[in-house]
Subunit: 387 residues, 2 copies
């Protein structure tokens, strides 16, 4: 799928080029820790991954011991993947093919003890919003409560006692068949405990997603689960610090960022934004991006002077996880399906809040006051004029 | 000053380890552009820098041509430096020694055509706030309008037609001799056009700065100048996305971030935060950090279990500049005084706003509503409870 010439991994490229003291310094300054704290992966799973063409990587984020609280160890997992069959195949067939690919990776995640798993944005379909064609793509939209994706994942959630976050194209039949970009949260008993709709919708380059759905109306919910307080910031929401902030204010300990974004548009921003959010809000962030190049049956244009084309660009994967202290894992491959696992001690969130004090020093009242002025039509910016 | 064993530059380490296509891919993904667009520096200045032990680096950030607006080219400069003589010398002597070192670098900046220059946080003194001793350090505090630092820089501002931002320890004699951490803005006619006081004060590790000064009371001023709209986010304010946001809302095109921060505390965050702010707010950011290790006459403690010590840790320099499109310069040295220059086309700010639309998609009214609830004592976070 057009990835033969793509670099496999920037992180590996740099790490392989360095050694000894140099590599240590790179790790310390770049990743925020000298050791990546790699976790061992079971041999049978590595073998299974190789057979099925997906990478597995696992790391650990320890926290200090406390006297009163016990460690709160959680295994978080994220999956990045390409689509499974060409986009001109029937909708149901395309979806089922993705299901079968994902089932194998989820089985592996379960065998590695993952407690909370998040899939990529609109995982059960090609990212067809670039086409601006309504059909057949709107046929992928499905009920959050009992659509095919939810039914498929519910079963696995129960089987493996795993919380699964499923970002889909949602069809809201209760409210006039409207379509939303939605993350469905299924708990380890297979119950849909809630959903979050994408708060910020891009209109950039090929990403004219407002053709299909509006800005979300579900606020910034944090889901209290057996494995910590979790939230979902969908894709383009990662460019908005206020979006990250509200999940933090509502108490999130892990914020997943299921995305679909391509090289040429955002790749140099990718390592910056979700990581900055983890730092600023003292929580874990899990940034997930799909992989591969998706080709569509009909040509579309970008409005950027390029000729009409059928390919959207290369989804560069590179999913990674950042801790509240700003240290991060290397990214998954730029070209290959992958499962990234991190063992988190959630106690680290409050430890870092105590250390850095960003909440205490935040002066939220000042900003509420300033921002409430800024939204007014007669707002006068605080500008010291030129003489 | 204890820097012999320190790595000179992470950026150079990695760039030197790569070549050809690999280096190109690293530059594209890491820096956000394949070429660093280096600007030539005059030979006499390189020689002068070598003689006086400071590095000079200069880069360009071009923008697209527009039909209606002409390019708005501005040369911004930042200076990072160590102190000049030991901290047990008389206050006036210490300050004058720094003046003489800085004068040479400003002369060079002028000869390279710099229009706006920003010095590091509390540039005219050692960063003595770790000691928690009031004297002699409070003697460094000076009037923003006509203290020694302002008088010194006014002269250079006039001589070179340069705007100079001077972050100092301010003594406000009008308001009860209070002390502030303040950036004074001197325009190219030598006039103090205003000042900004540090909005967020750290209480972390050795940084118990609230011993000396309070959170600033000057809001988020943007200074309209002959060379664009500029603002200053002082040091620890870079951890607060709301602080960056308000400067953007008030119209800043370049935000300087004069800092003083040490390895072991923040180095892995350094490349993330000011860069993220440039991306999120579609403006240029200039991150400045001092260099070297400062040794104080008396021991102090950190409250982190370490034994009492006289050294604060290594200020790791690494000053860098980011454009609104998220591309950035390599950092200056981790150990050496330096002058970093970037030729900016300020038109890039609005071009990137038009491209990405972060302002348009920001939903500020939603956040004003949510945050105004969050500041209340009876705030109830939006939490979906566990069954």
């Amino acid at each position: 799928m057009g990835t033969a010439s793509e670099l496999q991994s920037l992180d590996k490229l740099v790490s392989n080029a360095l050694s000894g003291q140099d590599l240590q310094e790179f790790n310390r300054i770049h990743y925020g820790r000298i050791s990546n704290h790699e976790l061992e992966i079971k041999k049978n799973n590595i073998l299974f991954g190789n057979e099925n063409h997906f990478e597995i990587a696992a790391y650990k984020f320890p926290a200090n011991k406390e006297e009163i609280r016990k460690p709160r160890i959680v295994k978080a997992g994220v999956i990045q993947n390409s689509i499974a069959i060409p986009t001109d195949q029937p909708v149901t067939k395309q979806r089922c093919a993705i299901f079968e690919k994902i089932r194998k990776i989820i089985e592996t995640a379960a065998d590695e003890g993952v407690n909370i798993l998040c899939l990529q944005e609109a995982w059960s379909m090609p990212f067809a919003f670039c086409t601006r064609e309504k059909q057949p793509w709107c046929e992928f939209a499905e009920s959050a409560l009992d659509g095919p994706s939810t039914l498929f994942l519910k079963e696995l959630a129960i089987k493996y006692g795993m919380i699964i976050i499923s970002p889909i194209l949602e069809r809201d039949e209760v409210h006039g068949d409207t379509i939303w970009n939605t993350a469905v949260v299924i708990n380890e008993m297979g119950k849909v405990i809630g959903k979050h709709r994408k708060n910020h919708i891009p209109r950039v380059g090929d990403f004219n997603e407002s053709t299909y759905y509006f800005e979300g109306n579900t606020g910034h919910p944090v889901f209290e689960t057996s494995f910590g307080k979790i939230a979902v910031n969908i894709c383009y929401g990662r460019h908005h610090p206020l979006n990250w902030l509200m999940f933090g204010i509502n108490g999130a300990e892990i914020v997943f960022n299921p995305s679909a974004t391509v090289a040429g548009l955002s790749e140099h921003l990718w390592a910056v934004e979700a990581r900055n959010a983890a730092i600023a809000n003292s929580y874990f962030t899990c940034a997930i991006n799909r992989v591969g190049t998706e080709k569509f049956p009909n040509e579309f244009t970008s409005g950027d002077g390029k000729t009409a084309h059928k390919e959207f660009g290369h989804f560069y994967g590179s999913s990674y996880i950042t801790a509240p202290d700003g240290s991060r894992t290397p990214g998954l491959s730029r070209v290959k399906d992958g499962l990234l696992i991190a063992e988190l001690d959630l106690n680290l969130c409050r430890q870092i809040k105590d250390k850095w004090g960003f909440g205490m020093t935040q002066r939220l009242d000042l900003y509420v006051n300033s921002l409430s002025k800024a939204v007014n039509h007669d707002f006068e910016p605080q500008v010291v004029p030129r003489d």
